[in-house]
């Protein structure tokens, strides 16, 4: 069966510090991968998606970036965090042309 992992679960970072969130998927090959952000009491905002290694599409211009160094690894990064980057970050995967997405447990990021 497929599983998706995210870490860390929670993170508190000062403004201006770097960020690296990691997401890995097990039990499937060549998944589509997604990063979402959810602000408190809000819906999900799609940040990035990837259909293959090294292929990243950005939905929202901002100070975040994403990379996919391996088939089942998706990383969300920032060189300098802003207060507005606080939120709940969710990674998800889907298979091929299937639209159903499967979500990880999320990372709660607080920028102080």
């Amino acid at each position: 069966s497929q599983t998706i992992h995210q870490w860390p679960a929670t993170l508190v970072q000062p403004v201006g510090s770097p960020l690296s969130l990691e997401c890995t998927v097990e039990g499937t090959s060549n998944p589509n991968l997604y990063w979402y952000r959810q602000a408190a009491g809000r819906g999900l905002q799609l940040l990035f998606y990837s259909v293959g290694i090294g292929q990243i599409s950005s939905e929202v211009p901002q100070n975040l970036s994403a990379s996919r160094p391996q088939d089942r690894q998706f990383i969300l990064s920032s060189k300098k965090l802003l207060l507005s980057d606080s939120g709940f970050y969710l990674c998800a995967w889907s298979s091929g042309n299937e639209d159903t997405q499967y979500f990880g447990p999320g990372t709660r990021l607080t920028v102080l």
């Binding site: 819906g43 799609l46 259909v51 939905e59 159903t100 979500f103 999320g106």
Partner: protein, 113 residues
């Protein structure tokens, strides 16, 4: 911009009652999905209904889709306290299979025993 909008934003009911949530969207879709999120957790896929389907059932869940009105509803029958969660609709856009789902802001359901 938000594609799906759920209504109501919040819903409080007693155990055993039915809960109905609605979702409206703006553009043509391939399918519409409903997801559930427990507080502080990831989303869990509940059900997918395709644009050529009008109704679909899964256990205590019933989903309808009216493409002429660009709306969907999720009915949870005989609700339980464990159904307390936020529910989101998500639309898969035409010609974007496997690339992007657009989520609404969600309905927060509270079921009291």
């Amino acid at each position: 911009s938000q594609q799906g909008e759920e209504d109501p934003q919040a819903l409080s009911i007693q155990e055993g009652e039915n809960a109905t949530m609605n979702c409206s969207y703006k553009t043509s879709i391939n399918n519409l999905q409903w997801y559930r999120q427990n507080s502080g957790r990831g989303l869990v896929h509940l059900i997918l209904i395709r644009s050529n389907e009008r109704e679909k059932h899964s256990g205590r869940l019933r989903v309808t889709l009216d493409t002429s009105k660009k709306s969907s509803s999720l009915l949870i029958t005989a609700s339980r306290a464990a159904d307390t969660a936020s529910y989101f609709c998500a639309t898969g856009l035409v010609n974007q299979a496997g690339t992007a789902l657009i989520f609404g802001k969600g309905t927060t359901l509270s079921v009291s025993s």
